[in-house]
């Protein structure tokens, strides 16, 4: 039952991934990789920014240390998400279950899973399947078909994932003053990182997200240290 629920929620994420990874496939082949190399990267890493950076390092003939450090810094936000998600897991999330489901912790899967009151192994695994399929298939199609599809179609599919994020955050903001304040703070900080040229050039997007999210959540703790909003938010769903 909860597997089915997760599987269905994975549909939006998976179709969004299809278009995003389509452009990754094109990019990877343009950087000199073969289609099967691009597909192997997508199925083993399941991450966007990290893969784009990784392909760049491969193309530039970079070394092991550079690759490891780049992946750690860009993907450090997953650690934050993993800790946050670990607070919602139920009894079915045993150690082996965690080691399996850790693989599907991405921005989008985390975003959907964290709206649940509790997260179990079946739900989380179901949620991961279509995104993995979409991410891999999209990479394959992008690498093989390249620029055959009209750009106007693929380009407009990519925004869907952001629409989903808005749909997750806004209803909770309507119910909680603290959460709406910290979301505005997070957005304002993200704007600073995007439009101040020095910051945009020197801080990777993954790292910028960590800094914005941590500062905003910290302000939230200062405003409302004993999170009664979480209960309100859960009741409202």
């Amino acid at each position: 039952m909860s597997f089915k629920k997760g599987f269905k929620s994975g549909l939006v994420i998976g179709s969004g991934y299809l278009s995003v990874s389509f452009s990754f496939g094109i990019m990877a082949v343009n950087s000199g990789l073969t289609w099967w190399q691009a597909v192997l990267i997508s199925i083993t890493c399941l991450t966007s920014a990290g893969q784009v950076a990784g392909v760049g390092i491969m193309a530039a003939g970079g070394g092991i240390i550079e690759m490891a450090v780049a992946q750690l810094v860009i993907n450090l936000r997953y650690s934050l998400m993993a800790i946050s998600l670990s607070q919602k897991t139920d009894k079915t999330m045993t150690l082996p279950a965690r080691l399996i489901d850790a693989y599907v912790i991405t921005d989008e899967i985390f975003g959907v899973a964290s709206t649940q009151e509790s997260v179990g192994f079946r739900y989380m695994t179901g949620l991961g399947i279509l995104p993995i399929a979409g991410w891999t298939l999209g990479t394959f199609l992008g690498a093989v078909l390249g620029n055959i599809l009209p750009a106007v179609v693929t380009s407009c599919l990519a925004i869907g994932i952001y629409g989903m994020f808005v749909a997750i955050v806004l209803p909770v903001c309507r119910q909680s003053k603290t959460i709406s304040i910290i979301c505005i703070i997070a957005v304002l900080l993200a704007v600073v990182f995007r439009y101040v040229p020095f910051l945009y050039a020197h801080v990777s997007s993954g790292f910028a997200i960590i800094i914005c999210a941590v500062i905003a959540a910290f302000v939230g703790v200062l405003i409302t240290p004993e999170d009664e909003t979480q209960k309100e938010a859960a009741d409202g769903q």
Binding site: V12, Q71, Y103, E226
Partner: protein, 107 residues
């Protein structure tokens, strides 16, 4: 790049990405009892999603105009409490319609 180099770099990339996720997910098995720390991690999903969405949403299509139309539609639909799927589809549809419009009415 030969195949051997590719597989070594792929392994480094995949393992480091996996460990960044798996170590904290496996290590934090007990519920955090400190209320402030707990509140912090309850707030994190919303601040992460907010920071990830704006302004990045404006550059998610090939034109800021179509992306803005999508973003505005997302805000309206989400504010009215529509489901994730409806908001996602509506966002894509709005961006697509405006991009069609731009083909015929170039600004």
């Amino acid at each position: 790049m030969d195949n051997k180099t590719f597989f070594i770099l792929l392994a480094v990339m995949a393992v480091s990405t996996y460990l960044v996720r798996a170590i904290p997910f496996a290590a934090f098995r007990k519920k955090i009892t400190n209320r402030k720390v707990k509140a912090f991690f309850d707030y994190i999903p919303y601040t992460v999603l907010s920071a990830m969405t704006f302004p990045a949403i404006l550059y998610s299509t090939d034109s800021v105009i179509t992306a803005s139309a999508g973003a505005l539609t997302a805000v309206i639909l989400a504010y009215r409490g529509r489901s994730l799927l409806i908001v996602a589809v509506g966002t894509c549809a709005a961006a697509f319609l405006v991009s069609l419009l731009l083909m015929f009415v170039p600004l």
